[in-house]
C-alpha cells in the first residue's frame, strides 16, 4: 500500500473516531458539563485560585 493511501486511511479513521467520541459525549451530557464550567468565571484560570 502506498504512503498517501495510508495517510488518507488514518485520516478517515481519526475523523470517524472523533465523530463517534463527540456523539458519545453529547449522549452522556458532557456538553452541559462544559457549559457549567465555561459559563462561570474560572477563578484558577484568572489567577485568584
Amino acid at each position: 500500500m502506498k504512503a498517501p493511501d495510508k495517510k488518507r486511511i488514518i485520516l478517515m479513521i481519526t475523523l470517524t473516531a472523533a465523530i463517534i467520541l463527540i456523539f458519545a459525549g453529547l449522549v452522556e451530557g458532557q456538553a452541559s458539563a462544559v457549559f457549567e464550567k465555561a459559563a462561570k468565571i474560572c477563578m484558577e484560570c484568572i489567577g485568584i485560585g
Binding site: L15, F35, K37, A38, A39, I46
Partner: protein, 290 residues
C-alpha cells in the same frame, strides 16, 4: 509586513473577534453565559475572557480529568481530534487569539531579535511534557485542580487583567497566584519581542496536541520534489525554523504559508492534500523531525 502575513493576521483578527464577540463583557467585567459556551473553540481562548463566546478546549479537558469521579472526556477529546484531523496546526497559524497576540508583539522593533539558537530544538519538547504532565497526569491525580490553567496559562492571565479592569470585586481578590501568572505572562510578552511565538514553540499544550495530527491532517503542506531546486529559501523564511522540503509534515509547522510564497519554483503547496510527494534524498539541511 509581508502580504501573506497581513492576510493571515486579518484572518486571525477576524476569528478572534468572532470568538470574543461578547463586547459588553469587557465593559461590565462579566463573562458570557449563553448556550454557545458549551462548544469548544479550536484555539487557546480562556472561557473566562469577558469576550469569549466559546469554551477553551484545554480548560474543558482538565475539568473532566480533575473531577472527583472520573469521566472520560469523550466530547472535548472528540472535538480536539476533529479539529486536529481537519486542520492540524493550521489552528495555531490562523485560529488562535494568543498566537495573534504574540505575532503582533513580534512586529514591535526590539534591539534583540533571535529566532534560531542552540537550545531552541530541545526546548520544543517542553510543550509535550506540559501536555502530558500539566493537562493530563496532574489534573487527573490532584483532583479539582486544572494545573495548566491555574499555574501556567497566559490566556487566563490576560482574561484576569481584562476582568479586573472593569470588576473591582475581582480586582480586590488578586493575590500571589495572580502575581506568579503575571510573571509568566510578562516573560512570554518579552520573549515574543525577541523570538517568534515562544509560547507556541515551547509551552503550548494545544499546539503539542495538534502537532500529532500534522502528519496526516486534511490540510497539509506538500513539496513537489520534481520542482524543488533545494535553494533553501523556504527554510530561511520559516519563522518556526522548519525545512519544508525535508519535513513538510513537521509538527512544528503552523501552516503560515510563508514558505509557499518564498518558493521560486512553486514546489510547495499548502491546502487540502490530494497528493503526497517525497523529500529530496540529497538534502542535508537541519530540520525538525515531524
Amino acid at each position: 509586513m509581508a502580504d501573506n502575513t497581513k492576510k493571515r493576521v486579518a484572518v486571525q483578527g477576524l476569528w478572534s473577534l468572532i470568538t470574543n464577540a461578547n463586547f459588553k463583557g469587557f465593559f461590565e467585567g462579566r463573562i458570557y453565559s449563553g448556550p454557545v459556551k458549551q462548544i469548544c473553540v479550536p484555539g487557546l481562548n480562556c472561557y473566562s475572557c469577558p469576550g469569549a463566546v466559546g469554551a477553551c478546549p484545554i480548560g474543558s479537558l482538565q475539568t473532566f480529568l480533575s473531577k472527583m469521579t472520573f469521566k472520560f472526556p469523550y466530547y472535548v477529546l472528540g472535538l480536539l481530534i476533529f479539529f486536529g484531523a481537519i486542520l492540524g496546526r493550521v489552528v495555531c497559524g490562523f485560529l488562535c487569539p494568543f498566537g495573534l497576540l504574540q505575532e503582533l508583539l513580534a512586529l514591535i522593533p526590539f534591539p534583540i531579535k533571535k529566532n534560531r539558537f542552540k537550545a531552541d530544538r530541545p526546548m520544543r519538547r517542553i510543550k509535550y511534557i506540559i501536555l502530558l504532565l500539566c493537562v493530563v497526569i496532574l489534573p487527573a491525580s490532584i483532583k479539582l485542580t486544572p494545573v495548566f490553567c491555574k499555574y501556567i496559562c497566559p490566556s487566563g492571565t490576560v482574561s484576569g487583567i481584562l476582568l479586573a479592569i472593569s470588576n473591582s470585586v475581582l480586582a480586590g481578590k488578586l493575590g500571589r497566584l495572580f502575581t506568579w501568572k503575571l510573571i509568566i505572562l510578562l516573560a512570554i510578552v518579552i520573549g515574543s519581542l525577541i523570538i517568534f511565538r515562544p509560547f507556541c514553540k515551547y509551552l503550548c499544550p494545544l499546539g503539542a496536541f495538534y502537532a500529532i495530527f500534522n502528519r496526516f491532517a486534511l490540510v497539509r503542506l506538500t513539496c513537489d520534489t520534481s520542482k524543488c531546486i533545494s535553494c533553501g529559501k523556504c527554510s530561511s523564511v520559516c519563522k518556526m525554523c522548519v525545512d519544508p522540503t525535508l519535513t513538510p509534515d513537521s509538527g512544528e509547522c503552523i501552516r503560515c504559508g510563508d514558505c509557499v510564497k518564498a518558493c521560486p519554483e512553486g514546489a510547495l503547496h499548502c491546502g487540502i492534500s490530494v497528493k503526497d510527494r517525497t523529500a529530496p534524498e540529497n538534502s542535508s539541511r537541519d530540520t525538525f523531525a515531524s
